[in-house]
Amino acid sequence: MDRVILHVDCNKFFASVECLHRPEIRHLPVAVGGSVEKRHGIVLTANGLASARGVKTAMPLWQALNRCPDLVVVPPNYPLYVRFSGLAKSIYCRYTDMVEPFGLDECWLDVTDNVKDIEEGRLLAEEIRQTIKDELGITVSIGVSWNKVFSKLGSDYKKPDAVTVFTRENYKNLIYPLPVRDLLYIGPATEKKLLARGLFSIGDIAESTPEELCSFLGINGYMLHSFASGSEDSPVKNCEHKRGIKSIGNSVTAPRDLVCFEDVKLTFSVLSETVARRLRDSGLKAKSIGISMRNSELKTITRQLSLSFATASERVLLHAAMELFENNTDKPFKIRSIGICAFNLEDENGTVQFDLFGEVKENIKYERLEKTVDRLRCRFGNNCVKKASQMTDMNLTDFDPYEEHKVHPEGWFRL
């Protein structure tokens, strides 16, 4: 028997959760958006009424308000969304332990062992849809199929509050006419390449040979062919499956452009504090560090360097980040957003090679000190110990990536 895979997608997740909690705005067009003052002013999600008026995800708020002047903009409440995401997952786990999250609002479920055939899979999907509606007060759309890609297509096919089944009998009629852009991992660049070669629909991709696709898409041609033809067979990973961490990073869009090294150092100091703390929380040290910078013309560059020893100290990370920045930026500059990423990770209890000049010994001293500060912050809150330097410009340093930025993007390619 074929596998039965469900893909559950919470419709307009952030907006739905906000509308549930604020009955007074439920009948109005609503968008969840970042703060305009802090230059995070884009639409994160819009509810159905706002979407119908042309408000789209990632649109700047001013543009959204131009299209829909009576739009109600509410600030995001990530802890609440994380709670609802957890509640939804606990509902899925009543049916199967094969639950693989794809972001906060989407999950794949492998229910093959619980059902006789795909029709029973559909009934189970209807039950889950109703349970989420009753218990969480939000709607989901569910795709049912024999592989992850088609079930994801199914959850996008009919929205909101619906179940779509793609079987071996109906998939050619229903999926093949869809535009290539609907397929997972086809973005604007790949779409352009496909259209240029006369491949307009998913069916066109499925009916090409993998070699043809590889001739202009590289190795991804094989992957896209398997996605379009239904031969993709990756397993749904168990929800207990812990992914190996490959890198830890944080970035921020500053409330104003960063124009001098002091501005950059202040911002990096907050980011390196968080990255180092997350490394220590995970029992890891990093041997390489990367920085990303986006200027006011939205051009992004990334640079990286290898450290001579592995570290989980914010002091060392900050020093390396500044060295990278100073060596790769010409004055004058106008930086809009910057980020730090630690990678090449090692276990914190691994062997340590001491050096002649005592740098490693110093590093261990800093790590101990910072671990003590971690414990203080755990007990008394993140603001109980603060660097005096960060108080010189509170406008730049008044953000807490450790608490606020816990929502991480998901990728298909992972361990």
Partner: protein
Amino acid sequence: MKYKKTYVEVTAKFTQDGAIIPLKILWNDGTSFFVDKVLDVRPAASLKAGGAGIRYTCRINMLETYLFLEENRWFVEEKCI
């Protein structure tokens, strides 16, 4: 009819097997309402007041009403006059 979410103080019993049973609701004006019987317990959303948690269907003074436990706070759906 409009409703609002009103958080209330509750006296509850924690049973040996871990269940939480509300016994008394203390209203904002100081009035106490005793829960005669808990008729149903289930996870549910409150569309009227806005929220989601464990919903207790309680009989209080011969009337059925919902009492919600949302994480660690209790609320009721209060009618707005």
